[in-house]
């Protein structure tokens, strides 16, 4: 998805020109080649999506065994519908807060790391490999690992901070600062991913530009603002889109850390809880709402990229 957006401009111009016979045939072959992929997408993406939307208009339930009824928009706008659901509202709030915190830090830290490993120094290859380690660990495992490290009695973080006299008594991190702890884990895990995307963007910037700039007397800071940042824009947008969409559907870290704790329910956790409790109809309505919320962000980003391109 990201790469098609990055390559969008040529396609644009192409469409506006008049097409020759050869081009038309090429297009036909392209569609033919795309067909299998489109069929797979329809099967694994659009079919489940359609079923979910359909179910959100019913009172389908797992364990009740009563026949499923069509109830229209009741799951959305009824007296016990989504618009009155304060738990879901809290879940949206928690998720957005988490997204804002993690995407911001992952971007800033990822940018710093990308700039560092893009400059030439001894051991750069090893550095680039080591940088990816957190990202290579499955989230559930790294979450468990951090949970032990954050442990209130036996955790290594408390132990280190007490020994260094930063704090005088162990802190129950996951109880007292729940959002900060999961955000830290997510930032630790995903910053390398952002760094990798930005690094790819950095590597296509021609070095001649910097040489010319330094000949013209621009300092490093000016070079960063006037050359690096503008030319990195497509890579930055891709990184931000990926991270934002990922953060909005966060489930694993929260579930490992807090299970069903009320004030740390993300949209995805509330969604799974509802369905596990049997309310498939209502759960589907939540799924659709999450889909729409994420769609809003996609639209914002895509509009932004288009504006950029023109």
């Amino acid at each position: 998805m990201s790469s098609t957006q990055a390559e969008a401009p040529p396609a644009y111009r192409f469409r506006r020109r008049r097409r020759s016979g050869l081009e038309r045939r090429k297009t036909r072959i392209a569609w033919l080649l795309l067909l299998p992929a489109l069929a797979v997408v329809a099967l694994v993406a659009f079919y489940p999506l359609g079923v979910t939307v359909y179910q959100s208009f019913t009172d389908k339930s797992f364990l009740a065994l009563t026949p499923t009824k069509w109830i229209g928009l009741k799951n959305y706008f009824g007296p016990t519908g989504l618009i009155h659901d304060t738990v879901f509202r809290d879940a949206i709030y928690v998720t957005l807060k988490f997204t804002a915190i993690t995407v911001f830090f992952e971007f800033v830290l990822g940018m710093i790391i990308a700039l560092v490993v893009n400059s030439s120094f001894k051991g750069r290859g090893a550095m680039r490999a080591v940088m990816l380690v957190p990202w290579a660990i499955p989230t559930v495992i790294s979450a468990r690992m951090w949970q032990w490290m954050f442990d209130d009695i036996y955790g290594v973080i408390n132990d280190a901070l007490v020994r260094l006299h930063v704090i005088d008594h162990s802190i129950a991190w996951t109880s007292v600062h729940p959002l900060a702890t999961v955000a830290a884990v997510d930032i630790w895990k995903t910053t390398p991913f952002v760094a990798l995307l930005l690094l790819a963007g950095l590597q296509v910037i021609p070095t001649e530009l910097y040489e010319a700039a330094s000949v013209d007397g621009a300092n490093k800071w000016q070079q960063f603002w006037r050359i690096t940042l503008p030319l990195l824009r497509p890579a930055i947008l891709v990184a931000l889109i990926f991270r934002t969409l990922d953060a909005l559907r966060v489930f694993d870290v929260f579930y490992v850390f807090f299970g069903n704790r009320a004030d740390t329910q993300t949209m995805a956790i509330y969604n799974q809880n509802t369905i596990i409790n049997g309310d498939v109809g209502y759960g589907s309505a939540i799924s659709v709402a999450i889909f729409l919320i994420i769609a809003v962000f996609v639209v914002i980003y895509v509009t932004f990229t288009r504006v950029e391109e023109q």
Partner: protein, 451 residues
């Protein structure tokens, strides 16, 4: 060339990180599991009628969703399954269920909702038969006679609409673990009988022990937002005149005694209990207690045999008794325990029933009680001298405690949701909210569910 070298390095580092992380994760559970291997003093009994079973079902493969992989429970399952496999030739795939029982519930919901045949025999919490009854085989024709051996109350619980959808495997009730050496050291001759006494004793012991151990706490329990907290909260409320959440089909949780007791609990968090107790499950409570870092613990009987194993820092230094109560009230213990059921979608129901017949027999219950200090559901096993010797909580003074049940008979299929409302609310109180503002909300949510 250089790029390939980088890729190789990257691959090696990533693999190393994976191995390291897995061993870190495993290190968290290894002390208990390692010690468990030396704790076995009994061996699994032989399968009766093994020859006849072998003849009929030899070579069939069934999947058994057994106990979680913490403590001795999974080891017990492995031992029993190995014996059954050897005697009958029925192949068994043993899958431990998730440690938090609501996660185990979610797993079964997914399994039944998809009409999957991948699970044949499954462990069922005492509060689940009502919800899963439509998906379970009626065991009455095959195991009706064996069911008569078990405590009638639990068999009643497992009978839904006249069908025996599950059969009791082992029981559970909440008890108080206390350090005999520390009570002695600080001048107490007996364990606390009221919550006020527990509070005072925990404070004094904690203050004294902190001088040499900064991580020492007075009291630990299961405070995480999960099913275990519903059990603990039921004991707090029922032992202080606060009722049992729901009575006669109506929520009763919003009452003065309940609010008073829960605000006392809120006061314990961060004083006599670690601030992090609000994230503790059974094992998070057991580990500090077994390490000698806590004076009192609320837990199920399974923790007894682990605490008395070699390797435990409190071996021979602790005892168990009934949980405390409020002044003028009496002690209670929440009824827990697990049943075995056979899935309607199983492809090998008959072989699965044979496994259930073996596991719920008196001989296996005796083995389980000795090996894993679980509460037998067969009364005659509970009276067995060998069982009594290893399980002191079975002595009448403790075993006679009033048992309280979670409100699954009112909520049935909605129990999981109801329990979630309860434990999420109680967890908020533990984390600092006033019970007087939380309880009315729980009450109205429960009533909405009951309608």
């Amino acid at each position: 060339m250089k790029h390939r070298a980088i890729l190789v390095v990257a691959g090696l580092v990533a693999a190393g990180a994976l191995i390291a992380s897995i061993s870190v994760a495993a290190a968290g559970t290894s002390p208990a599991r390692h010690a468990a291997l030396t704790a076995a003093t009994v061996s699994p009994p032989a399968v009766p009628n093994a020859k006849a079973i072998r003849k009929k079902y030899h070579g069939q493969q069934i999947t058994f969703v057994g106990d979680n992989a913490v403590g001795n429970s999974h080891v017990r399952d492995m031992n029993l399954v190995a014996r059954f496999q050897k005697d009958t030739g029925i192949k068994i795939k043993l899958v431990p269920h998730p440690a938090a029982s609501d996660a185990a519930y979610a797993d079964l919901v997914r399994n039944f909702a998809s009409h999957s045949s991948s699970y044949d025999v499954m462990m069922l919490d005492v509060v689940w038969p009502g919800a899963f009854a439509p998906y379970l085989v009626d065991l009455k024709p095959a195991l009706g006679k064996q069911a008569k051996l078990h405590a009638a109350g639990i068999v009643q619980n497992d009978t839904v609409g006249g069908k025996l959808v599950a059969i009791p495997w082992f029981g559970d009730f909440g008890i108080l673990y206390y350090r005999t050496d520390l009570l002695n050291k600080y001048g107490y001759s007996s364990p606390p009988s009221t919550w006020t006494q527990l509070d005072a004793m925990a404070k004094k012991i904690q203050a004294g022990e902190r001088k040499s151990n900064p991580n020492f706490y007075g009291f630990v329990w299961q405070g995480n937002a999960y099913e275990g907290l519903t059990c603990d909260a039921l004991e707090w409320l029922a032992s202080s005149g606060g009722g049992t959440f729901i009575a006669n089909g109506k929520a009763t949780i919003n009452n003065k005694n309940a609010a008073k007791m829960l605000n006392i609990v809120r006061g314990w968090v961060g004083t006599i209990a670690p601030r992090g107790v609000t994230t503790y499950t059974e094992e998070n409570a057991r580990i500090p207690f077994d390490n000698g870092d806590a004076a009192f613990m609320r837990n199920w009987p399974y923790a007894y045999s682990i605490g008395q194993q070699s390797g435990s820092a409190v071996k021979g230094k602790f005892d168990v008794t009934v949980l405390p109560h409020a002044a003028g009230q009496h002690s209670v213990g929440t009824v827990g325990g697990w049943q075995l059921g056979v899935s309607k979608f199983s492809k090998h129901k008959a072989a699965a029933i044979e496994l259930v017949r073996y596991l719920t027999s008196a001989a296996v219950e005796k083995y389980d009680a000795i090996f894993n200090s679980n509460v037998p559901t067969i009364p005659s096993v509970a009276l067995n001298p060998a069982v009594r010797r290893t399980n002191p909580y079975l002595k009448p003074a403790i075993a006679k405690v009033a048992r309280v049940t979670r409100p699954s008979r009112y909520l049935r299929g909605k129990y999981n949701k109801g329990s979630q409302i309860i434990y999420q609310g109680i967890n908020q109180i533990e984390n600092g909210s006033n019970a007087n503002s939380v309880l009315p909300r729980i009450q109205s949510q429960l009533n909405a569910l009951l309608r």
